[in-house]
């Protein structure tokens, strides 16, 4: 369908110097395209959270394909579809039988399908990181394979508010950012606002923090951390200061109605459980 595809197919293998691929793998077509690009490229860079970790669309992994289709084409509040038509893989039109790409069971990050050399994290990637990656690649000063561009330390390391952090952070309450008047000169976490800076790779320059928003974790985990959400959940659980299980549960119910959305916003397909949910859905 895409005329450019045949152009690329005609190219010699390994004839592209660098391919920057963004987006997660959602359709069978995506798999095909990235395999093709891999074959033709010397270096493949996963570009942005979706390619790196699966990204926000990866949260769809909490639902089955049929649930997703039913919701998207029939139930969503903005949908008008009186006949209840949903997409099918093939369709008989007067012009002949048309085929659409198949929806995969799960969204996958890029390296679930092909070998990836480098990662540029971020949703969206910040200009400084893109520049650094380009500089390194163009100068031939290539880092070890598998490197994620950005800092090797968590965001707190470069966050200006880190020095305002009290000696101990133990929280009786969690607050979402719209529920408090945020003091922009004080560590957000110390104010009880769920900031994922401690668990997130730095390198962005703490742009969101400077803009009055806590970190939501788009740069993903650090090298030593296997599962971003599990780590995030574990550190939050550690600093919630209740001996009473019931009170702690109350915090979760009240302030974390959507833990998967909070802790795996960008990385569910990269998690150890990968969100392979097979229940009825909510």
């Amino acid at each position: 369908m895409d005329f450019k595809k045949s152009d690329v197919e005609k190219m010699k293998d390994n004839s592209i110097d660098v391919a920057f691929i963004n987006g997660g793998i959602r359709l069978s077509e995506h798999e095909e395209m990235v395999r093709l690009l891999r074959r033709k490229s010397k270096v493949v860079v996963a570009f942005g959270s979706c390619a790196h970790l699966g990204g926000i669309p990866g949260l769809a992994n909490l639902y089955s394909t049929s649930e997703l289709i039913t919701y998207a084409f029939r139930e969503a509040p903005t949908v008008v579809n009186p006949d209840g038509v949903t997409p099918t893989a093939s369709y008989k039109a007067p012009e002949g039988e048309l085929e659409l790409p198949r929806i995969l069971k799960y969204v996958k990050p890029l390296d679930d399908v092909i070998d990836v050399d480098y990662y540029i994290p971020g949703c969206a990637p910040t200009p400084n990181i893109i520049k650094k990656a380009l500089d390194d690649i163009l100068s031939g000063n290539l880092p070890p394979k598998g490197t994620v561009f950005g800092s090797s330390r968590a965001l707190c390391d470069e966050c200006e508010l880190n020095k305002t952090k009290p000696e101990k952070i133990l929280l009786k309450d969690l607050k979402r950012v719209h529920q408090v008047k945020l003091d922009l000169s004080k560590c957000y976490l110390a104010q009880g606002v769920l900031c994922l800076g401690p668990v997130t790779r730095g390198g962005c320059g703490a742009l969101c923090i400077k803009g009055g928003m806590p970190c939501t974790g788009c740069f993903g985990p650090l090298d030593n951390v296997k599962d971003f959400g599990a780590r995030a959940l574990s550190f939050i659980a550690s600093i919630i200061d209740y001996d009473d299980e019931k009170l702690a549960e109350r915090i979760i119910e009240e302030y974390l109605p959507d833990p998967a959305g909070w802790f795996y916003r960008y990385s569910l397909p990269r998690s150890l459980v990968k969100g392979r949910y097979s229940g009825g859905g909510k």
Binding site: S152, R153, A154, L155, C156, D157, N162, K163, K165, E167, K168, I169, L170, G197, P198, V199, T200, G202, L222, D223, N224, V225, K226, R231, A232, S234, F235, S238, I239
Partner: protein, 657 residues
């Protein structure tokens, strides 16, 4: 350390393991695993030939990892670590696999599957062993001095024992005098010695001992540092008397016109506003109670100042603070009586003639408010009948769950007091069980129950009411006679439940030691290490570990002192091998580790413009809380790093292939 070279040793443990699975097949399996140089099985790995086998292999095959698949590491990990050490290897290059408790003992009936499991566990250990590394134990010298908190009989005994062993002791007591509860008692069971007669010589010994400094009327306000090197801040409360000038002549206390309820008499008697706790007080230096002193309350009088022959009165005194540096701390803060007004159905605090056992001690004491005569408090008359109620608030889900451990013996002693003071009185003892378990207690019980007009009633009153003449009436079902008895008594004595002191909780938090459900300090092991705590260098003496009578308290205190002496004379403290270790390069200084550390072992320090977590190697107890919390994986725990655990877990998840 270069190439990984692993030796695997499968123990038969006689028939314990060998009778269920075939250890040589497991060894055969292990020999093919990555980096395994040698794998063997042996009848008793822990025997000296077994140990020798490993030692020789280490030398011959140049092994640098050893895996022993045998029993629980609780049992023999130290044994095999010793083998490694002897062979010149770091002991933490050992990995144990428990194929006895975890395999053959529990899966005896399915030997095939058991063997499969043993293999899988060995496989996981081999994968984990690839990532083991040498662990260094840090050592720090100890300060050879000790702090004893609390100057009751437990603190006194512990302080004397430590001091006699040549250790410098600081004894901090919150009241004016040391002596504690024992000083308030008239007599002690089961021998009925005069309590003060046996206690005061010890108090004097403490005061005279060159190695002991007493800080009376003082309290510990802050504890920092760690085992072997504690820094302790002590508040010396203002006494308004310059104790360095005072000679203890007592002239001031005789002439003071202001009266106050006497704490030492449990509120029954009165004392002056300037006072000693009791005549034999140590130190014999008075304090002024500003709540009752006429100068503080009304701005008049100052008689004591005018009369003091040495000019020691100083109304301008303020709090003073001193800092002590000690290697060990002994906690001997004792107990308190449970507030009997909470046991409302018995009317303590509402009816005058309902008193506590400790109040009876004061009535019986010659130095007490009645000069030793036991009387009804409402009218001062001799009681014709006295009812002693045991388990008042003890063994009660609504009050105190546990047994007070001395109420029974105290009640028996109290029968004696009553019969001694008012020989013709009738005494009713209302008990649920008599627990006369100590040495000589049963004999004591026998002696008192043989007395005339002493009636033991097995039952517990439910409600006590006041009759019109101020005596007390209640019904009690006596399961000895099977009758519901209606009793009228002139005096009711409640053998109160026992609880930790009110201000104990803040001290406990300062010391960072745990407590049991009753709030008492938690010992390291209830049977084997009852006078140590989870915090190194902090020991427990007496009732703060749980209710105790005097013989048990003294024994416990002496044991705590012996343990502290042992600790201090070792000369140095060792870090745990399971230390938390920071990869400073990865650390972002977010500080969450410090937030969760229960031992205050982590500090966030500024270094080269960055904030980095630093672990105090002596304070760290290797609990792993920081490592589990660290969001960036920079904090790892020795012997349990993420890499070690994940490789073990993935090996298990993937199966033995």
């Amino acid at each position: 350390m270069g190439e990984v070279r692993i030796g695997v040793y499968i123990c038969h443990c006689g028939k314990n393991i060998g009778g269920v699975i075939n250890p040589s097949r497991v060894a055969e399996f292990a020999s093919k695993l990555p980096n395994v140089v040698v794998a063997r099985d042996y009848m008793y790995m822990c025997s000296s030939p077994g140990q020798m086998l490993i030692e020789e292999d280490i030398k011959r095959h140049n092994l640098n990892r050893v895996i022993v698949a045998a029993c629980s590491p609780r049992m023999h990990e130290p044994t095999f670590q010793g083998v490694l050490k002897k062979a010149g290897l770091n002991p933490w290059l050992l990995e144990m696999v428990n194929i006895r408790e975890h395999v053959t003992w529990v899966h005896e009936d399915v030997p095939d599957k058991a063997e499969e499991k043993a293999k899988e566990l060995v496989y996981a250990a081999v994968m984990r062993a690839q990532h083991l590394y040498e662990i260094t134990i840090h050592r720090l010298p100890v300060v050879k001095s000790a702090l004893v908190i609390g100057g009751g009989i437990a603190g006194i005994r512990a302080a004397l024992d430590l001091a006699n062993a040549g250790i410098k002791v600081y004894l901090v007591e919150k009241k004016q005098s040391i002596g504690g509860k024992m000083a308030q008692l008239d007599k002690t069971f089961p021998t009925l010695d005069c309590s003060k007669c046996i206690l005061t010589p010890l108090m004097v010994d403490v005061a005279r001992h060159p190695n002991i400094t007493i800080y009376a009327y003082s309290e510990v306000v802050d504890v920092s540092g760690s085992a072997g090197d504690f820094k302790v801040k002590v508040r010396l409360k203002p006494t308004y008397v310059d104790w360095s000038k005072c000679t203890g002549c007592g002239y001031c206390t005789e002439r003071c016109p202001a009266r106050a309820p006497r704490e030492f008499d449990e509120g029954l008697g009165t004392r002056k506003a300037i006072y000693f706790d009791f005549p034999q007080a140590v130190p014999r230096r008075p304090v002024i109670d500003p709540k009752y002193c006429l100068w503080f309350t009304k701005g008049i009088c100052r008689a004591c100042e005018k009369l003091c022959p040495v000019g020691a009165i100083d109304f301008n005194q303020k709090d003073r603070y001193i800092e002590l540096n000690v290697g060990a701390i002994i906690v001997a803060t004792g107990y308190e009586l449970y507030d009997m007004t909470k046991l409302r159905e018995y009317g303590y605090g509402k009816y005058k003639n309902v008193i506590t056992g400790l109040q009876l001690e004061r009535l019986s004491d010659a130095d007490g408010p009645t000069k030793g005569k036991i009387v009804r408090l409402s009218d001062g008359k001799e009681p014709e009948t006295v009812a002693i109620v045991l388990c008042a608030g003890s063994r009660d889900e609504k009050h105190v769950r546990y047994c007070c451990r001395f109420g029974c013996a105290a009640a028996i002693k109290h029968i004696y007091y009553v019969k001694h003071s008012v020989p013709e009185a009738k005494v009713f003892v209302l008990y649920t069980d008599i627990r006369a378990f100590g040495k000589g207690y049963e004999e004591f019980y026998q002696r008192l129950r043989g007395m005339d007009d002493v009636y033991f009633i097995r039952g517990r009153p439910a409600e006590i009411f006041e009759a019109k003449d101020g005596s007390l009436i209640f019904d009690v079902f006596d399961s000895n006679t099977g009758q519901l008895l209606s009793i009228k008594a002139d005096l009711v004595v409640l053998e109160s439940a026992v609880v930790p002191p009110k201000d104990w909780e803040s001290l406990r938090r300062m010391l960072k030691i745990s407590c049991d459900p009753g709030g008492f300090a938690l010992e390291l092991h209830p049977k084997l290490r009852p006078f140590e705590t989870t915090a190194d260098g902090i020991f427990l003496a007496g009732a703060i570990q749980g209710p105790k009578d005097i013989p048990d308290t003294v024994a416990h205190a002496a044991a705590a002192a012996a343990a502290a002496i042992g600790f201090l004379s070792k000369g140095e403290v060792e870090s745990t091998p399971y230390l938390a270790v920071v990869n400073e390069d990865l650390c972002s200084g977010c500080g969450l580790c410090a937030s969760v550390c229960p031992f205050d072992a982590i500090e966030i320090k500024e270094e080269g413009g960055r904030r980095i977590a630093k672990v105090n190697v002596i304070r760290c107890k290797g609990c792993g809380a920081c490592a589990a919390t660290c969001p960036s994986g920079a904090m790892q725990q020795n012997y349990f790093t993420d890499t070690q655990i994940v490789s073990e877990v993935s090996a298990l998840a993937g199966g033995a292939k």
